[in-house]
């Protein structure tokens, strides 16, 4: 579904992504982890062209996303993207946030968009918050609304950049539960997270990045076993200490 071939990226003189080649199969879930500054955010942001790349190719569904013929807006409607800080639009109610893509991209009327948006809110368990403003709901609820908003156009790919790191501990599980459910429904998912329990349980493969390179790419069984990459072992023990 998503293929990186020799992808490199520089910020000025700084090479932050180093010749990454890897594949995400359709319907699978990839968890990305690695130390701070290792390039996780940058890598996932290249997939919907929030960041450009200088070398290599990225294909999504067989299409070179950086080809001239590709309309970046069309590309992005097919890829849901979730940020650490939710980024709900504060001037719109929850339901209006979820309806916005239908109304402003698919040009549906409010009436046409409403049923689908309500259904989506039900799926994330927030139908009762439809008319609340983002300022009046919790962090966990905000992130679920953001997920609903990004799923409303039925993307085939969902990308999440540390979706639970800004949340209070008691709210992490409600978001992870939703992600677990989505992963089971067959969407292709790339998720940057340090929730290793979630990774072990849900990920099909785990990617470990270090200094911009994809150092290790393994199934969870191997990733968490004693035969794992030595850098991963160091990383795992360091995050255990912090938790």
């Amino acid at each position: 579904m998503i293929e990186f071939q020799g992808v490199s990226k520089w910020f000025g003189p700084l090479k932050v992504i180093k010749e990454i080649s890897a594949t995400v199969d359709k319907g699978t879930t990839i968890v990305l982890c690695g130390p701070s500054g290792s390039g996780k955010s940058t890598l996932v942001r290249t997939v919907n062209r929030l960041e450009s790349i200088q070398e290599g190719t990225i294909t999504v569904g067989g299409m070179d996303i950086n080809a001239k013929s590709v309309n970046v807006n069309t590309l992005r409607t097919g890829i849901g993207f979730i940020f650490q800080q939710f980024n709900l639009f504060p001037h719109l109610t929850v339901i209006d946030n979820v309806m916005l893509p239908l109304r402003r991209i698919h040009k549906q009327s409010r009436k046409e968009a409403l049923p689908a948006a309500l259904l989506m809110l039900e799926r994330v368990g927030l139908a009762d918050k439809a008319n609340s403003l983002p300022a009046d709901i919790s962090g966990g609820q905000s992130q679920r609304v953001a997920i609903a908003r990004s799923l409303i156009l039925k993307p085939e790919v969902l990308i999440l950049d540390e979706p639970t790191s800004a949340l209070d501990p008691e709210m992490v599980s409600e978001v992870l539960k939703l992600l677990r459910q989505l992963s089971g429904e067959g969407i292709t998912m790339m998720c940057v997270t340090h929730e290793m329990g979630f990774a072990r349980e849900v990920a099909d493969r785990i990617w470990f990045l270090k200094n911009g390179a994809l150092t290790f790419d393994a199934k969870p069984e191997l990733f968490f076993s004693s035969g794992t990459h030595p850098d991963v072992r160091g990383f795992l023990s360091s995050i255990q200490k912090n938790h």
């Binding site: 807006n73 940020f83 639009f89 504060p90 001037h91 991209i105 403003l133 156009l153």
Partner: protein
């Protein structure tokens, strides 16, 4: 002393007419400069948002001139200065039709445009860049993101400052008296001169200014509250 307050003297006949005319002129000044000022402010904000150095500098110079020169002097520049640029015939005609009010509207509107465009700009700047990113990652175009995500927040954020400018403009219309526009404070002065009823003339004008100012303040409070953007 022997001075007895008698508002009846001023609130009748010719004087009452003058006061009513004064109110009308004040409101014309206020409403027209507000509308022109707001429209121009929006245009200035857009021009300044386009990354083209010369026009950005031009707008910045426009804003700084209007913020750092007294409003009264801006009126003088238009009233005394602009006239010499025009041919005599045009000037005569303008004086006949009472061009002071036109100059006053131009000067007030340009001044407000400068201040209001700054308010819009700081409204835009206080929106987190991630909002744009989130809007684009949904698949909105740049213009779509502007139209549906950035601008609806920007005007809400700028609203309290814009309403503050509205009150300042209303009070500022009184400066048009300085170039002979017969608005409310000019009429008060004239009536005082004619009737020697100092306290009545200024008392009534002041009361009218306060009444309208309080209405603007009240409306500002209501609107600011209604459209407040709450960001966590």
């Amino acid at each position: 002393m022997g001075y007895h307050l008698d508002f009846g003297k001023v609130l009748q006949g010719e004087y009452l007419d003058l006061i009513l005319q004064g109110i009308q002129t004040t409101m014309v000044l206020f409403v027209l400069s507000w509308i022109f000022g707001l429209v121009l402010a929006i245009i200035l904000t857009v021009v300044r948002a386009v990354k083209f150095r010369p026009t950005q500098l031009l707008v910045a110079a426009f804003v700084e001139y209007h913020r750092n020169v007294p409003m009264l002097i801006q009126l003088f520049v238009w009233y005394f200065g602009f006239a010499v640029v025009l041919p005599d015939a045009v000037n005569e005609y303008l004086n006949d039709i009472g061009a002071e009010i036109g100059y006053a509207i131009v000067a007030l509107a340009l001044n407000k445009a400068a201040y209001m465009s700054e308010d819009f700009r700081s409204g835009m700047r206080s929106i987190h860049p991630a909002q744009m990113e989130a809007a684009r990652s949904i698949g909105l175009t740049y213009l779509g993101a502007m139209r549906w995500v950035i601008l609806p927040q920007a005007w809400r954020l700028a609203l309290p400052a814009l309403l503050g400018q509205t009150l300042i403009l209303f009070k500022g219309t009184s400066l048009a008296a300085g170039i002979g526009v017969a608005e409310l404070s000019y009429q008060a002065r004239y009536i005082e001169e004619q009737s020697f009823r100092i306290f009545e003339a200024y008392g009534i004008a002041t009361a009218i200014y306060m009444l309208i100012s309080f209405a603007i303040m009240w409306l500002s409070a209501v609107l600011s509250d209604r459209f407040r953007l709450r960001v966590k």
